[in-house]
Amino acid sequence: MQILVTGTLLGGTYALIALGLTLQYGAARIMNLANGETLVAACFVAFWLFTSLGVTPLLGMVIIAPAALLLNWLIYTGLLRPLVRRAKHRGMLEVDSILASFGLLFLFQGLMLLIFGGAYFNYRFLAEPFSIFGSPYALNRVVAFVAAALVSFLLYLFLYHTRQGAAVRAVAVDPASAPLVAIDVSRTAAFAFALGGALTACGGALLSTFYTFNASMGVLFTMKALIIVIMGGVGDVRGATLAALILGVSETAVASLIDPGLTLAATYALFILVLLFRPQGILGRAAA
């Protein structure tokens, strides 16, 4: 029971990070392997806001999210749009965007290592017990979960109940036909990419409240987010949320029952199962 609750609480934050990636890959068609770096940067900004200015991470998200939105929009329009224009087919764009985002990954990682060094950081925010079903849990984890759920719900409202959201979904389904219904694909893709970055940054800000982070852990989170996205089915918001919760629970189970050093093995075991049995995602339909 304790594993289930802890895992679900962790899964909430994972969901937010993975939703960011699924928007970037599903709608903007960019396999952004530097996504974890956005997350780590957000961790550091939240840390800095809290320790030097006393701004709580929840309030900090109001600053971090628009900043990440802008930064990712600049990355897309400046660096990635030329690749989209150059690509003759989707495979070529995939290879190019993977390589370009590797470049960004190492560049950002190197810069953060220069500024912060390789040390681990954390800070105490709401480190008080909070009781669920009679057992105590850290309040910061519960708050992070609630905040993540709230942001995800806002995203859901946006995607399924606004015109702009419908445009993002249309581009995700078929970028070639979207212009037929007067959607500016290039602009929508840039927006989806930026929004994805903002979501991941929110996830990072929440993560930093209960997780010890350092400058070089971005790749690990990119990896987790990617596996969640694939498990959930690319571009599938509900599938990604479900997959994030599954991943959170199974990681917690392995860490507490077998060995905390084997969490990646748990992730991979899930990944292999999905690849072998449901490569289209847990909620996905078979490809036509």
Partner: protein, 323 residues
């Protein structure tokens, strides 16, 4: 397979002559230049092995560090019980087996799954190795003491590079190589003309992985003390990818054109600014994507083509140019 043409004969002779000349290096120098030479032949073997698979298929493999680490560990684990040659065979077999497993899980699907899977592979194996070492052996590292000097390692790695080139050359002129080029151009077409695409890809990935594992095994004595963190260093995978793409993967000798400058530059930079390696790697990736999408060799060939055209148009009558 049969029927070596005249210019191929010359290429073979040239390659053999180059190997002989290069093998003289340890007789001329030791110390810094020999150690640089070891790095060069090591990365030449690794990048060429990488592009055997990833060149024609365009599937970016980041599993290099995983195979390399397996090779290193095969030597470290059984060095006292078995002859070195047997260890190299073990390294090749283990790496090929891992490649077969990874290939069977991911190569039937699209390329993105493969990239993601290999991205975390070395970290996964590192976790498993660390865990089993602390669980069953109660120690983290292993010692590798041999009588090999730097010169021996250099010769072995040079021989390995030679074998990788030879195998690459044979594959290129075989049915398998042809099949892979078709897969790289258009996988749907390849399937329609009756190529067992998954089998061809897995087979080549195994060959490429086995060579990487052997390279890890050969170079193991250089480290003397082997622990998971160093043996499965993910940076190795990225370095190999950069070198191969920088040189260009269309030609067999392409990766070599990336290995030479990049090894020397990193040697220089790690000596001056030891902590800025990842910034350099980042810039190298961006430079490849935006400035050299076909690598150095691609750029050279484009230039050569342009010169050829301009020479021909000057010779031809102006009226014929339009035709």
């Amino acid at each position: 397979m049969i029927g070596i043409r005249r210019h191929e004969m010359w290429t073979l002779f040239g390659g053999a002559a180059a190997l002989v000349v290069l093998s003289l290096l340890p007789l001329l120098t030791d110390g810094f230049y020999l150690s640089l030479g070891v790095n060069l032949v090591l990365y030449a073997a690794l990048s060429t092995a990488w592009s055997l698979f990833s060149g024609p298929t365009r599937f970016i493999s980041l599993a290099g560090a995983a195979f390399f680490g397996i090779g290193t560990y095969s030597v470290a684990l059984w060095l006292n019980n078995l002859p070195f040659a047997a260890l190299i065979v073990i390294a090749a077999v283990c790496s090929a087996a891992l490649a077969a497993l990874v290939g069977a899980a991911t190569l039937r699907l699209s390329g993105v799954y493969f990239v993601i899977f290999t991205l975390g592979l070395s970290e996964l194996i590192r976790q498993i190795v660390s865990w089993s070492q602390s669980r069953f052996a109660h120690k983290m590292g292993l010692y590798v003491f041999t009588d090999f000097t730097e010169a021996h390692l250099y010769w072995m790695l040079l021989a390995l590079s030679g074998v990788v080139f030879g195998v690459g050359w044979l594959i290129n002129r075989s049915r398998l190589g042809f099949a892979l080029r078709i897969i790289g151009d258009d996988e749907t077409v390849a399937r329609h003309v009756g190529i067992a695409t998954a089998r061809a890809k897995i087979l080549l990935f195994m060959i490429s992985g086995a060579f990487t594992g052997v390279a890890g095994a050969v170079v193991a004595p250089r480290y003397a003390y082997i622990e998971p963190q160093a043996a499965f260093n993910p940076m190795l995978s990225f370095t190999v990818v950069i070198m191969a793409l920088l040189g260009g993967t269309r030609r067999l000798w392409g990766p070599l054109m990336g290995v030479i400058p990049f090894t020397i530059v990193t040697e220089f930079i790690t000596a001056r600014f030891p902590n800025q390696n990842s910034v350099v790697v980042g810039i190298a990736f961006l430079a490849i994507v935006y400035l050299l999408p076909d690598g150095v060799t691609g750029r050279i060939e484009a230039l050569r083509e342009r010169i050829r055209i301009s020479v021909r148009t000057r010779v031809d009558a102006p009226g014929e140019r339009a035709a």
